[in-house]
């Protein structure tokens, strides 16, 4: 006679007809040996090591990629009204960026990833600053510097210049 380890006799009775086709013992599932648990902790340790190495490797690759940023026109920037913003991609299609035309008419562009945990920042017209909705960080619209919140550094600055009436992104610098 087998000993009932769980207090789920009703569940066992209800699932009894299925046990013929799917002989799956719920009680056995709850039993994890020390050896199995040790092996699981070993796997977790390996996964955490691979995660740390992968993240560091990706950061190194990103740093290398950001060195080359060819100039590119920003479509639709000319029609941007003061105190508003426009999203674009620079230097590659995968890198989202934000162009801001401040109230004085000047253009400023930044990488859109918050430097805290990479949430996309948006331009707050009311406060005239860039804000991150995830952890309430804020950046200066004119410089990209951190105003408050958890971000550890300024936003990546994208250099912009006007050529023949068209706004161009000409380079990207880490903040």
């Amino acid at each position: 006679m087998s000993k009932n380890l769980s207090d789920e006799s009703d569940v066992q009775a209800a699932t009894a007809p299925f046990q013929a086709e799917f002989p799956y013992e719920r009680d056995e599932e709850a039993q994890v040996t020390r050896r199995e648990f040790c092996n699981f902790l070993g796997l977790t340790s390996a996964a955490l090591f691979v995660g740390a190495a992968g993240f560091a490797g990706k950061a190194a690759l990103d740093a290398r990629e950001s060195l080359s940023s060819p100039a590119a026109p920003i479509e639709g920037a000319e029609t941007l009204t003061p105190n508003s913003s426009l999203n674009f991609n620079y230097p590659t299609e995968r890198d989202s960026a934000i162009l801001i035309r401040t109230a004085d008419g000047a253009y400023h562009a930044y990488g859109q990833k918050c430097t805290h945990l990479s949430c996309p920042v948006y331009y707050s017209r009311a406060d005239q600053r860039l804000e991150c909705p995830c952890h309430e960080g804020a950046f200066d619209a004119a410089t990209g510097a951190v105003l408050y919140g958890p971000p550890p550094r300024a936003l990546d600055v994208i250099e912009v210049e006007t050529r023949d009436g068209q706004v161009w992104a000409t380079g990207r610098n880490g903040g």
């Binding site: 020390r34 648990f37 040790c38 092996n39 902790l41 070993g42 977790t44 340790s45 390996a46 955490l48 090591f49 995660g51 740390a52 190495a53 993240f55 560091a56 990706k58 950061a59 190194a60 740093a63 430097t115 805290h116 945990l117 990479s118 550890p152 550094r153 880490g174």
Partner: protein
């Protein structure tokens, strides 16, 4: 005597588990610090953090593979269980 030996083995298993859990927690902290440093572009601390995580993994492996209660004798076919 046999009971004492069993109790000793259980204590060693318990110690192994506790150490493994502590190392896993340390590695979690290291991973969080790595993510933080990568996003903040503090590249100089990335390699030490990865090395620290690797050392933790090596210790974990050594605990799982080689640490045995001293009462267990090794034979040509492995440890006596």
């Amino acid at each position: 005597m046999k009971e004492r030996s069993k109790a000793g083995q259980a204590a060693v298993w318990q110690a192994r588990l506790i150490m493994l859990v502590m190392i896993n927690i340390a590695q979690l902290w290291i991973l969080a610090a790595t993510v933080d440093a990568a996003l903040a572009r503090h590249y100089s601390v990335l390699i030490p953090l990865v090395i620290a995580s690797g050392v933790c993994f090596a210790i974990t492996l050594s605990i799982i593979k080689w640490w045995r209660p001293t009462s267990r004798k090794k034979t040509s076919s492995g440890y006596i269980r």
